[in-house]
Symmetry: C2
Subunit: 199 residues, 2 copies
């Protein structure tokens, strides 16, 4: 039996074959969103430019799609605290060494979108979703891969790195639930910070 020669290196995203990653994205995110595909290439690019270190945390600058690519491809999740999101709406992520804070930031670099009209149009929301050519868009993202991104070295603020440990809990005198002591005499739900009413 002759083994078929591999003529082209298969596209891969963080040790997953491209199509395998798409299936992971569909399974977790619910569908193969363009932002999940582009996000996969971005996480892969960040991984390939990590500074030295053993433990890395993630910071994501948007809550759209990209956090799910990070959660699928790295050990960092929202719930374990290794992924944090500051949603300023830039499609960018950083992976940084969790003690020293040195990291790599990967972002979509707008001039690099120029050769990819459908991708550029989607990225800047230049036309309504109904008018997008979805197949062409996904095809362009696959062709573009990480070439539409740039990366840079960043250093995270030590205060940010060590933040997040709660000191203790109190019982809220209004709702009788537990809440972090440092929030004051009432929990923030009873201070009006939640968007629902109890029926």
């Amino acid at each position: 039996m002759q083994v078929k020669e591999k003529t082209q290196q298969e596209l891969s995203i963080c040790n997953h074959g491209y199509h395998e990653y798409l299936e992971l994205a569909r399974s977790f995110h619910g569908h193969i969103a363009p932002g999940m595909v582009l996000g996969g290439f971005m996480v892969d690019l960040a991984y390939r430019h990590l500074p030295e270190g053993e433990f890395f945390d993630a910071l994501c600058e948007t809550k759209k799609c990209l956090p799910d690519a990070i959660q699928i491809l790295t050990p960092c999740t929202i719930g374990n605290g290794w992924l944090r999101i500051i949603d300023i709406g830039r499609f960018a992520l950083s992976l940084y060494e969790k003690y020293g804070g040195l990291g790599v930031r990967v972002y979509v670099d707008p001039p690099k979108l120029e050769p990819f009209s459908e991708l550029k149009s989607w990225f800047f929301k230049l036309k309504p979703k109904m008018e997008q050519d979805r197949d062409m868009l996904l095809d362009e993202i696959k062709k573009a891969g990480p070439t539409v991104c740039s990366f840079q070295e960043v250093r995270l603020d030590p205060e940010f790195i060590k933040a997040g440990h709660r000191k203790g809990f109190a019982l809220c005198p209004s709702c009788h639930e537990a809440y972090p002591l440092e929030h004051g005499p009432l929990c923030r739900g009873c201070q009006g910070q939640l968007p629902y009413i109890r029926q």
Copy 2:
């Protein structure tokens, strides 16, 4: 061959066997955190008391552990927007019908923790992590299951339900990246809202 009789119904969490859920938790979250186990029971309880409807979104009131239980057990993730977190530090979640906003909220009900000393101690951070009896804690969470929680009907604010659609993007004149138009003349990164410096 005699088939061994099943004497006790196996504990389950949203159609997963208990141990199967623990493995999912370990795989996604990195380890079997107490909050992931308790969170699994809470999501299961919410599912069993959903109001009528076909599509449900999730609101989580803490960023610790519980969001990962939601992401594992429901179609709602941070990146697809069906899970939103308002981190006021209460261990509680709501699943709500995504158009009308009627939902069920599940929360840890402190008086119900009384029979479970290790669980109560962990929940209120009454002793340092080093002094916790981890086996006893996980055993108590398994025994307690959803009995330490209560649920209530909630109605989400229509403004909250429909929020989140971005209108378009501009190029930031400072960093030259794309950012949501509605954030003003500079992106929020260049307005100083990010915790890193570029090297």
